[in-house]
Subunit: 336 residues, 2 copies
DNA sequence: CTATACTATGTAAGCGCTTTCAGAAAACGC
DNA sequence: GCGTTTTCTGAAAGCGCTTACATAGTATAG
């Protein structure tokens, strides 16, 4: 820190007004004489003055900051999410404070994000426990949930996507267009809501076409390339027959693709593969991946919008579901 | 905000001490009687007390926050970078404030990140102009530059990677092992330092093997999939002969791959492709991409470490260059 | 047993702002 | 013109903390 930082008092002195007036010019909270305002503004420029965020927060009870809580910052899925959130946040003139929860020690000394340093929180699946969520709800702190229903049926707004119908559509495509009958499904991480809904969509599709469900075709993929690969390798080793894999997400599709390529199975001729999310790399795989387009970036952006509205005291709908869209490429057997 | 937030005074009352003592327990800044400390701590727990960040900042002149300034938050390149930064930041017990500079209006009302809201700044290539950088330097504000030399030979610490030798190594691999002679190079964005160094490495490799430089083999790829693709399509249309492409980064390699595939040129049999960065998707391309491994995540982590050291008043070396490593896969013509 | 040094705690002065409250000056109504 | 509203401005009270500074009690030394 420099010996003496430029404060609002310096600006006030230089322009011959009180600090209250400077504050008014800064925030436009009360009418100020045009000339006075001009003098103040030029003093601000001349002194290179920037208001001290903490002082402002302390006095005004606003942080102008939105907190984002998610399991990890990396991963193909979080990228567009983050981009959307960033866009929304900067559009609304807020700052963004990010915390990841993965592998964070239990004995974390203080709550990283909350009413003490943000105006509101965006909480992604599983990154905050029900207890804390309940506490925040009870004190009326603005929170928006992403891809996750509120616990204990609290009325916390949610932004998510149409998982079930999207999944159903893509599985039905496999059945109807490509005559697949033995379709493997790779589950996401334990308790992952998106995955649960996608699995329901999978079942609905089978039911719709009268295909009986075979539990041995349900594997764990954990939305992880390597785990998905291992699961499929097991399946192949066990000589289980299947003609398609719905990988639950796109990341897993890479693992499946690698496993099948290794085993000499041709995709999509022998086995079709379809994913979910339409991650950035989906169209660079070979063959390009047929998947369900999830508007992840919009989810982020919309969630911020909802949150900002809540912060500003407006009411918002409690559940916003963005629609997904079947995106046909070639890994299902269609011709590009 | 709840009507009355829990403050340090509440904790003090409940445990029968002054707020100064509570503060001491909280920060460990002075010896406190064991029993007193215990009483205070249990009051903190009982009241669910969390210190107010802004008040703390205002009083202590520390924000415990590190600012990250980069052009965009998305993009395969920034992902590992971000991950490294996040890891470093949370390891050091700081918060992370992120700002992107791309497409931000010129009339941004206030300087987004600086001495008023962070303890130090991580600045990625081109995301802060020389004037502001100079100002920050002049007031002694902690800054670490990423992949970018300081302007006006200011002594601002830098963390970057060995671009030149990495590039030289991979081009020499093409020449020596695969007997390529007409190697295309795709430049990154105008003035991008990494790209400039990589281009130098390219030239050194040619020189080392006495291959004369052909300017028509230098194209602009802008580290962008689509631009790279268009450039190569032009080259093909112009019937320029070439037997390899060094794409400058990995993202461009996708575009090149698509262009060549479209044109029916086989990779790597007819034309070898090599990249730089070893992005996550590099080994999922077909053929898997031979590239130069850039330790981007470490760059992020190390940069935070340097920055924290500076914030704590220690001295650091002014330039940290992490080494790169040739990563051979199959797109150069080698057998996996 | 007095001088000296800690140890443990409280008091109070800010940190740099926002925001009431109040008052002066200017504009307006009739 | 005189009362009334409106516009503009300043004084001052905090916001919730940290941190000198001061003080009382308790060891330690000689």
């Amino acid at each position: 820190m420099p010996p003496t930082r430029t404060t609002i008092a310096d600006v006030a002195n230089r322009s011959g007004v009180s600090i209250a007036t400077v504050s008014r010019v800064l925030n436009g909270t009360a009418p100020v004489d045009t000339d006075t305002a001009k003098r103040v503004r030029s003093a601000i420029t001349a002194l290179n003055y920037v208001p001290h965020a903490a002082a402002r927060t302390l006095a005004s009870h606003r942080t102008d900051t939105i907190g984002l809580l998610l399991p990890e910052i990396s991963g193909a899925f979080f990228q567009p999410m983050l981009r959307g959130v960033e866009a929304g946040v900067s559009e609304a003139g807020f700052d963004l404070l990010i915390h990841t929860t993965q592998a964070r020690p239990e004995n974390a000394p203080r709550r990283p994000l909350g009413e003490h340093n943000t105006d509101g929180l965006l909480v992604f699946t599983e990154s905050l426990d029900a207890k804390e969520l309940t506490r925040l709800y009870s004190i009326g702190f603005p929170v928006v949930l992403l891809h996750q229903a509120p616990p204990n049926s609290l009325k916390i707004p949610v932004v998510t996507i149409e998982n079930q119908s999207g999944a159903q559509a893509i599985v039905e495509h496999l059945i109807k267009t490509h005559h697949c009958r033995r379709i493997v499904f790779l589950q996401g991480p334990e308790g992952h809501e998106d995955s649960t809904w996608r699995e329901k969509g999978y079942h609905l599709a089978l039911d719709a076409y009268g295909i009986s469900f075979d539990p041995s075709l349900i594997l764990r993929g954990n939305f992880d390339r390597d785990i998905a690969r291992a699961s499929v390798e097991h399946l192949l080793a066990d000589r289980v027959k299947f003609d398609a894999v719905f990988t639950g997400d796109d990341e897993s599709a890479i693992g499946v693709l690698l496993a099948l390529r290794q085993a000499g199975r041709r995709v999509p001729e022998e086995i079709a593969i379809v994913g979910f999310d339409d991650s950035l790399f989906a169209n660079t795989l070979l063959p390009p991946l047929t998947t369900v387009r999830a508007p992840t970036e919009q989810v982020g952006k919309e969630a911020v919008r909802q949150l900002v509205r809540i912060i500003q005291g407006e009411k918002v709908e409690s559940r916003l579901v963005l629609s997904t869209e079947l995106t046909i490429r070639q890994s299902c057997g269609c011709q590009g």
